[in-house]
Subunit: 386 residues, 4 copies
């Protein structure tokens, strides 16, 4: 739906998590019978939940923990674990910084160069913990350290930045081509983030084995305020899923879609999957788990940018084990715990036996959801209440 | 009205209580002359108000009180009155629990099994109080305890869960068929909750003698946050009413529509009826009445779920007799008291002499209502004001 | 624009004061050259502002004051001035009541019967103060006391209630016909309130010499919460103005439209007139003027209803002379003072030399206005800020 | 998109900064390679940022500072610098006034007449500081003092008022014709503010060498509340840009569009430029810079109006050098610092190598942005949080 801005231009409507709601199905299904599995880059996931490459969230041991519970984690290959011999000390320093100094401390810490010679040790730690070695690099990082990471034993590479396009122009000359990367890579490559049909389709054509969706929606992210850029996640996910469907029809290759960022409650995760995602990527909701390397804190990957930080360190008070967060039981009634239970229940109410069936259920768009959700969220943000 | 999400999918707009308003009629009518009666499952109601099967609201004696005032109550046949010999002690324990413990206490209390042998005593208490024995069971409960309840003297059965579909799939095998139930039942069966034309039409075809409308809108309910599922009540009611109209045209059988949940003020009740409901079902607004079994408290039926609670115990400060709540007089100017007076006044302004006439009055959709109502409500919720 | 509710019904979009904004004109005009005059029921107004028949606002002396400044006032002929020999004492009692008792005190005071024998004295007081005797009666009051008021010297009768339709049905038999009233009346009759094209057109056909617009928007009014009935003022005014235009084209008789209720700032008054009103009626904004009979207080006409109060007594802290409120000068920057200056400035920016020219300027509909305005207003209401 | 108000009228939808968001491009570009330059009235700007003619912001020395950083400033030729021999003393008095007195003090100070004999000294001060002498006059001021200002050495004249139309009617006779002014002027003339295609096109035809866009959106401005007039900036900018495109196609002359008012964060500046502006004009965001003549304070040009103030003095707590505000580095994560970095990053993500390329990128319209942004902003305004 196009809304005209002038006789020459228009803006299309885009919807986010709190603008839509799922419609119960004509048939329902027992939540216990719902199949939540998906396959990404050759890896089977029992639950469609991936931990994002945030240094405060994913350490090698965390990757092992979430894998044993059926999910997956991505380690940041340009983070503290590959910049410092002793990442624990660095993480402690971040946690100890005062609120007003936190961004500055992060900026300083991330000026230490990445040390490719640390890759092998870190990747081995992940595998020793029982998980596949999945790591993320920025496009520039992929150009610089991609081969080193593969040589060091990486199983899956995630090329990820705020926006990863197929054609990047730079006078510095140091530009990554996704097509070249996938052609020359011995391991699967996932690419992100994007928010449109066109870019997603091109990434698939360029050989991406998974596409990450989302620009600017994460809780620890302020891309939208800083740059004015962003697309709400439901519309973004649905458009990327449409690209996947068309690409599948033309090539027979099914490229999983992973919605990344902005989800905190079970209902939001359910809506992202119903909009077309095969799995979701979340980071900040794990900050309350003792299994993370920096319990009670998280910060976005763009937060330490020395010139233009686009994120902030966030403190989380609650404490809950990863297992209970994912599977319950819980006495919390907001959908922020037992995320898998929420999802099973949602798919049961909608009559979806699998995530692929979930991709075609009905949604409604409501103006009241939006106001309600946003006011509640903002009010909480501003410390105004429960 | 469809709002596109991608080239393959779209979401239709759905409206809630605070998104719409009623348009005064070309003629008006004296509120005293308005006929508020309706007939549901063979029972005549003088006022179209049904108390929902919440344990904190409906006891046998409350059922008698509201019946004597022209309304109706539904008793929860899987609640404390059929799980415990001494329900009063249990209700006191719930009321005494601290706010942080309330959900946990509820989870524990509702793990006690239902005792069908208590049905007869409870149903007799209702009848002794002067009311028909109307009780609710979940679909699974209806399969397990339906016959026992009928044998024990049940007059009307309400089969009710978050979402009751016509076809439920479960590998456990223990699945209820609404069509079988109504075919084999000696008493009328009401079914809910649903929110779409399609499901409502199928329930009517399956023999339902009344359909309950509403997924996730109740005050003590957090289904939307937990599962992402829900449809705003005005759109849901209008669609179910459309199914009733079409079914009536085809079969000559008029199946009453009951909108359940989310109403607190007279204006919201009026809008639900104008949208197509024959009666409305409310629970939490009775929590201030001394006639309830747990004065000052209410909690949703899904709150005690041991794994995934979808609701919360809510405390209500005010105290008002059931009669005054329904019929006034009042000095409260918010529409939260004298609900029947509000409804008479509303129908008078709209020129509707009966609820069926009310079903065809004009409505407007306004973006300002929404914001106003929601902000007010949220602000109250957050303890920010009056 | 119709928004579907179901396959059988839809709701049309309706806009309020804070949903729209006026577009500056291709030409502009010096505010000093703007002609603000209008003519209503044979009376010339230099400024298009009418004080509404609220007992806390309009006394005989207030009517004189506002008339001398170019406006007009309507006295409530069923209020304290015609129920009590000593209205001042009664008004003092209302002002002295505690906040929690105010509605009850009002309910009690308005149970005293109207005394038609007081009409002559009150109407003479108005005329002695230099104003025409303009008074309001409810439809039932018009039937009972209309002749007495005319005999007592009334110059213009305003028949006003929450909703005044052309056809009212009542089993009590005591029903007013507007057509009969205007046919048999020796003085002009204004009628209100209405919100639709259809009813406005019928009132004009029935002989109304002016039509009042607005159901439920006033600050001291809670009709919308209590009954669910109401239409936002910009849409309501535009529709009634469309009826006036069509009626004028057919008959050559121009029936003034008066938008009543909900305006507090100059910008809102300007929007009401631009939407099609010839004059606006306001009450609560005068509550800070020492010229009113109950300085610092106002309450709606439906507030004292003994069974179903639809309004509340509101306390206003500020103090400002009527003249300064209307004409400035001011140092207040919110548009709440120098209302006439605001209007002159607005018409100047839009290039409208007269109110009739103002009726055809462009408007935009913006979702941001709404949120901004409503949040600000609600936040103020809740005591949250400036 | 037209939304009907009645059968005779409608309102078109208009969008503001927080209603839209920019869509990342199919290609991206290195932020360092983005060209931010533009040319206005023969002056090259390295960064498209112009300081608005607010007395609290632009002094001669400030004009020099911002010019040396690549931007431009406009001095108010009817402000304290041309009314007083000793403007510093006056500015100190404004800063010292209590909050409740500030508007009154401003009203008094601006009653001192403009002294054209001071022009030469002030314009020389600007040039001595290294900047071109760019000054603003109201239309009436341009008629009265235009020649004097040109004689005194003005390089570019900005004719600016709340709304500047091509045809102004006034019985006082003292009316400016833009066409006459540009025809008789030896220097370039920029004209504003306007918000529609029609008026912008006429201003271009009348010889304007630049058009300013914006009525009522500034932070220190309350035009919308006071007069009801205003158009959200994204729609206004897009429409004026459409006029520029059509005028360019017909005449070959490219008239720059400058969006003025309402921007505080990098993301908003990016959206204004993407909507079609060549440069943006901001004032209040400089209030925290020690380079301004009244650090920590700003007030709109219409604030001192003796009868109808449309603005307010605002105090700003933060302190940051102009250079750092524009170019960083920063540890602030809200987009309120390093404005040029924000813009480079935004254009990089959207793949726009120049501002003209930026004019054709995609935007989405989202209801969630609006609510989120407005609530945050209002909450801050009301002192409710961070």
């Amino acid at each position: 739906m196009k809304f005209p801005l002038s006789k020459h231009r228009s803006a299309r409507l885009a919807l986010g998590f709190d603008d839509v709601s799922l419609v119960p199905g004509a048939s329902t299904i027992d939540p216990a019978d719902v199949d939540l599995s998906c396959e990404i880059a050759g890896l089977k996931l029992k639950i469609p939940i991936i931990a994002s490459a945030m240094d405060g969230v994913v350490s090698p041991s965390f990757a092992g923990e979430i894998r044993s519970l059926g999910g997956l984690a991505v380690l940041n290959l340009e983070g503290v674990f590959t910049r410092y011999e002793d990442p624990e000390a660095v993480l402690e320093r971040i946690a100890a910084a005062g609120d007003d100094k936190a961004t500055r401390v992060l900026q300083e810490i991330y000026q230490e160069p990445v040390k490719p010679e640390l890759f092998a040790r870190v990747l081995k730690q992940i595998k020793d913990a029982g998980a596949p070695a999945v790591g993320s690099l920025t496009p520039l990082g992929a150009k610089r350290y991609g081969s080193a990471a593969m040589d060091a034993g990486l199983d899956v590479l995630v090329v990820q930045s705020t926006v990863t396009s197929v054609r990047h122009r730079s006078s510095s000359g140091e530009v990554l081509s996704i097509a070249d990367l996938t052609a020359n890579s011995s391991i699967p490559v996932l690419v992100g983030n994007c928010v449109t049909y066109e870019v997603a389709y091109e990434q698939m054509k360029a050989g991406a084995q998974g596409v990450l969706v989302g620009v600017g929606p994460g809780e620890a992210c302020t891309t939208r305020a800083v740059t004015g850029v962003g697309v709400p996640q439901i519309t973004a996910t649905a458009n990327v899923a449409a690209a996947r469907a068309d690409y599948f029809e033309e090539t027979g290759r099914y490229v999983p879609v992973i919605t990344d960022g902005g989800m905190r409650r079970g209902g939001q995760i359910a809506r992202a999957l119903a909009a077309g995602a095969d799995a979701i990527m979340v980071g900040s909701i794990f900050a309350g788990c003792p299994e993370t390397p920096a319990p009670h804190y998280h910060w976005g990957m763009a937060t330490p940018d020395p010139n233009l930080p686009r994120g902030t360190r966030v403190r989380v008070e609650k404490s809950i084990s990863l297992k209970q967060l994912l599977f319950g039981p819980t006495s919390v009634t907001t959908g922020e715990e037992n995320l898998v239970g929420c999802l099973r229940s949602s798919m049961g109410l909608c009559g979806a036996a699998s995530i692929r069936e979930f991709h075609s259920i009905d949604m409604v768009f409501s103006l009241s959801f939006m106001t309600e959700g946003k006011i509640l969220q903002r009010a909480q943000h501003l410390g105004m209440g429960a």
